[in-house]
Subunit: 258 residues, 2 copies
């Protein structure tokens, strides 16, 4: 067990991991469609309007038209009901771009301490009409499809899965997304959110989330402490969460309602 701990979850190991050469956004897009040097450079230009947010800080209010790139921390699109219940609609990690969720009483908040920048100039550059069907555009499109897929996955989680399955499923999704963004090493990632936030994502009570996490630990599916998460057997976690097999990840895209 000690051995497992050492190999599995070690903040030091994670910290010592080679610094990624590319930004999370780059890694993600490059994974969807190989980017040329020129295209890569577009993503590198200095970001505008850097902002630092504390956990719980609002980032975008209701009708905001802004678009922001998350550079560190987790961010969430949230809907708050009149009586205080809160549902996190969607989670964004570094490399993701968020905009306000349209919904009455919807907004974007920092789920942890986080940093964001204005993504508008970046998008303008990247999607300018010049390059024609550039790979960057293709990647952008696939990335949006992926976001939509994740949104639908959230519906399945909440509508059809048990507490245990939901939690495993979400953790799996987050792990895969970190991998795509070049964060962590594919098995270990930082895990900055509180159990309360997790509860608001998966639609459970804090207490029950706590118990489910313990069960996942007992089952050897995850190791989780001090802000770090490790997964020994990603496939096993995936199937515990009824996630589609990893192989099937590169299938068709799209979303309902053209």
């Amino acid at each position: 067990m000690l051995r497992l701990l050492n190999e599995g979850l070690s903040m030091d190991a994670l910290r010592r991991a080679p610094k990624p050469q590319f930004s999370p956004l780059h890694s993600k897009l490059n994974g969807f469609a190989r980017l040329s040097a020129d295209e890569a450079e577009l993503l590198l230009e200095p970001p505008s309007d850097r902002r630092i947010h504390g956990a719980r800080d609002p980032i975008l209010e209701g009708g905001s038209r802004q678009v922001r790139l998350v550079s560190s921390g987790w961010v969430g699109a949230v809907r708050v009901l009149a009586d205080g219940r809160r549902q996190i609609l969607q989670v964004a990690i570094p490399g993701d771009i968020v905009q306000s969720p349209l919904l009455a009483d919807g907004h974007v908040v920092a789920l942890t301490a986080a940093r964001t920048t204005d993504a508008a100039p970046l998008l303008r550059r990247a999607l300018s009409d010049e390059g024609e069907p550039s790979n960057l555009r293709i990647a952008w499109r696939l990335s949006r499809d992926e976001d939509q897929r994740n949104l639908l996955a959230q519906i399945v989680r909440l509508g059809s899965l048990s507490a245990y399955e939901r939690t495993a499923n979400l953790i799996h999704e987050v792990l895969i997304r970190h991998r795509r963004a070049g964060l962590g090493d594919g098995r270990r990632i930082t895990w900055p959110i509180t159990q309360e936030v997790l509860a608001d994502i998966v639609g459970l009570s804090i207490v029950h989330v706590n118990r489910v996490l313990q069960q996942l630990r007992r089952d050897g599916l995850i190791e989780l402490r001090a802000g770090y998460l490790a997964v020994q057997d990603v496939e096993r976690l995936a199937s515990a969460g009824f996630a589609p097999a990893a192989a099937a990840a590169n299938d068709a895209a799209g979303g309902l309602s053209a």
Copy 2:
């Protein structure tokens, strides 16, 4: 009560209601942005590839790139889990356009007897680059935003609402959408789905859906029988389902992840 029944739910009254002059799609889009005569005409051209589906028939398979306009009946984007659990991700009524939900094991099926046509030519015409920022394009965009909003609403329903609230909320949404499409009279609509389908939408068991419906009836929120639904007090239904006030319907649009 009898009086209420007569005024409230009467299949005859609904049948006798003046036939709408416009197609559901037209009503919906025209509600988002007033359409010119020319634009309206684009929507009228004879539809191609009409198809008739029985309840449960598949309409679009997994990776299909097709886009179909629902002309009658209800249609759903569905994900089926390995063990048979089924989650309806999104519902489409006449006037809605569906495409396959990207998701592994996702597809589009007829939730009731239904008719659809190929929406591709229609979209090509309507969105051709000529008209510039035509109202039709604007309406189309707003309509898509609305779809996205409904998707997020589904997440809130499943993640944060009780069975009773979920059901009220869904019925309210469907009622409003019928109104937009010019179907029913704003208070009464056809209700062609079985309780099993409803259960798969709101993530409950059939039996419990049945009990919740009875409670909604007892509370005087809905009348429901023989394929017809009537709502006396739409506002009351809305608040039972934690739906945003009707007035707030025309707010900003968008979705997370630009």
